[in-house]
Amino acid sequence: MEASVLLPNLLLFAWLLPLASFALILFFGPRMGKAGKGASYVATGAILCSLVLSLSALMVWTGRHGVWFDEHESGSAHAKEGAHESSEKGEPVKTKHAKNEEAAAKNASKAAATTAGKNEYEGNWYNLVGFGKLKLSIGWYIDSLTVIMFVMVSIIASCIHFYSIGYMHDELHEVTDHEVTLADGHHLHRPGRFHRFFQYLSLFCFSMFGIVIAGNIAMVFVFWELVGICSYFLIGFYFERKSASTAANKAFIVNRVGDFGMIIGMCALFGALGTFSFGGKDGIFQQVRPGMVDGDEHGHALRVPDGMVVAAAEKSIAAGQTPDAKQISAWRNSGLGYGLLIVAGLGIFCGCMGKSAQFPLHVWLPDAMEGPTPVSALVHSATMVAAGVYLVGRFYPVFTPEVLLVIAIVGCITLFMAATIAITAVDIKRVLAYSTLSQLGYMMFALGVGGWVAGILHLITHAFFKSLLFMCSGSVIHAVHTNDMREMGGLRKKMPITAYTMLVGCLAIIGAGLPLVAGLSGYYSKDAILAQALLHRDYNKTFAALFYIAAGGAAITAFYMFRLWYMTFSGKPRNHHCYDHAHESPPVMWIPLVVLSFFAIFVATPSLSDFRNPASGPLVNMLEQARPPGTLAAQTGAWAKVTIPDEHGSHHHDYHVPAGLIAFCTAMSGLLLATAIYCWRLVKPEEVKQMFGPLYSFLWGKWWFDELYNLIFVRPVLAIGHAIAELDRLGIDGVINGSARAVMGFSNWFDAWIDRTFVDGSVNFMARKIFGLGLAMREIQTGRLRQYVVLIVVGTVALFLVATFAIAR
């Protein structure tokens, strides 16, 4: 069957199976087996089927398009590679100008290649509404990125489903929540919510797949919100705990801030372009980069779409100028509509910022660790938070260099800030949460500096090793029943599998590997990012700091990850009660760890034939297939003085080698420092803490962001709220109460005067008179029979007389 038919259907079923599972558990969950145990089998079965379907889709894709770049392209790529090497020999240091030329040449060859093969499929399953221009539909947009995301999400979700069966077994029976104390001083007892957990997991998987497969931005938004609500449910899974419910609310509200921006971006796009869909003849991508669909050779460069130009030139049109093609291109050249494009890009990025917890909106992610650990692994590290990065990647063609610069800066701030906070955190899950923040920052940063493949590659590799790390931490927490690393130590002997799989995760996240030879998955993605950042630095000297911060961040990452590992697994046990109680987790929990650690090691491995070229791995090549055309060309911002370099430029040895060495050195320095402090104990951590007292408390307080937001947003809002409430109470309520009182007073008076005097008066008067009459008549009613007879006779006589004398005449 043709891939264009097969792929959407395979992915459709992979997408809808979790929904079916959700519906089943929703209605029959509590009746599934003992205490809802069957729910876990239903959900796990559904996600396993999704996994199989996703893998089939992957095979269909590779069968059609190959794992490698593209037949046509690979030839030219190799040719280019040759060209690189030759130029390297010829002139070791290239000028910027030369590079630009080269990029342009590459762009042209690439464009020629894309005309041959169609690299994405798009279409609609169902049209929801169509009002004039507005068309809402459930559609698909499938390229290799979609397929890879499907496979990645389903692999991790399957592992986590299995893991959760073991981790959540407490919920199978009545639960005593020791963190909730009721008013009567007892701990909360509640029925287990095992089935509910799997219900939410299924809904989450459905929503995540929905985001990935969505063919238009409106559909993305719908599933974006569904993912948000799943996150809300899962963070607040222990909703009896105050902290959990607050964290759930916080996550939800902070995400609303981001979504507001996203709606603005959607409005800008729809208002100007009149469509929501990505692909197609009049899709967003086609309008922004006309060459992307119709293969126009010169159309890959970013071009302000006609709709935006017209929208921006409203005044001129009102003045009588006709928006014909010539006029539009004149307007476009004068810069009209460019701002609107930036607004659209920034708006969409704003939504991604909320979902991916980027710098100003990052505060919800650490608190989200209140949820059960499998949730943290699946939702808050591997997939949902990656959705923001995914959307940036998906929307990449629309972003102007200015927007990309903003993305890079935000990502850079996030990665550095989160990394520093992670140094001082002692809660094992919080360390990982800040590490997640930091890595998400790396991804955004990578995308922002032009490393599309680097960023997405890091998204994939990070998903594997971060879910692995979280599940390991969950295994530890499950064993020692505390989150506090200061209570742990020496657990390596008790739970070796967890310890070594976690070590794999740590090595992967710091990007460990033999420089220039091979390494774990993180090695390749991080090197790619740093190389691209290095290239970016050369292009934009103004923003050179970005590269140094990112490189420094790598060192900090290594430090805090190994601090975590050493504090948890090595040394002597600090709390013997916890230590004695600890045990290795059951197989249902550690088997997923092993599976994931396999992926964490090998997911980005390059091909054996070209082992030393990090860009030769199957994953990288598949991602290259999905690369939005035109992004390979270096592009310069029209407003800001920034140039986004061509990504393939960073594959050059000039950048690749120094970046690899820098990454290795920074990671090793962080690793060595952590080892020195926490393993060899050359310096006591307490002394360091005292030495950097203010800095320590600054980091301990998480840069005081919560306090800052409290001061800037929460307090004023509360104050305004109180003021308005006071106004309401004193002013509006006063007026209303006053008028009510006045009306009441008036009616009381009216009642007393009119009612009593006239109405009651007349009625009472009549009643009194009739009563008196009755009393008088009562005297006649003697009850004496004979008197009545006399009266009858008298009456007869009277009638007679009347008849005789009055009527007869």
């Binding site: 009613q781 009850g783 004496r784 004979r786 006399v790 006779v793």
Partner: protein
């Protein structure tokens, strides 16, 4: 004055009137319930006399006043009603006597206002 020689309608009417008035006075003066009952019989009888007199063809009278045999039939109805009334009244009196050990109608004033 009516003609004393020829017995006419008015003679009968006068007799009926006297009996009626006697009955009424009897009802008004007798405290014995049975006396009252007898007064009623007298009143009814006085009325009956009138009916018969109006329906009689043997009396001197204005022919316009004649009601024929109807007068006698109505008189019969009155007699029957009187009998029925007497039966019920007697039952009431006996009941009253059982409850109050007296037949004095002045004692039966429980319905006074």
């Amino acid at each position: 004055m009516p003609d004393l020689q020829t017995i006419g309608l008015s003679h009968y009417l006068i007799v009926g009137a006297i009996m009626f008035v006697c009955g009424a006075v009897c009802m008004a003066t007798k405290r014995n319930a049975l006396g009252v009952l007898m007064g009623i019989e007298l009143v009814l009888n006085g009325a009956n006399v009138n009916f018969v007199a109006f329906g009689s063809d043997f009396l001197r009278r204005n022919p316009a006043y004649g009601i024929g045999l109807d007068g006698q039939i109505i008189a019969l109805f009155v007699i029957v009603l009187a009998a029925a009334e007497a039966a019920v009244a007697l039952a009431i009196v006996l009941n009253f006597y059982n409850n109050h050990s007296t037949v004095d109608v002045d004692r039966a004033d429980e319905l006074k206002g």
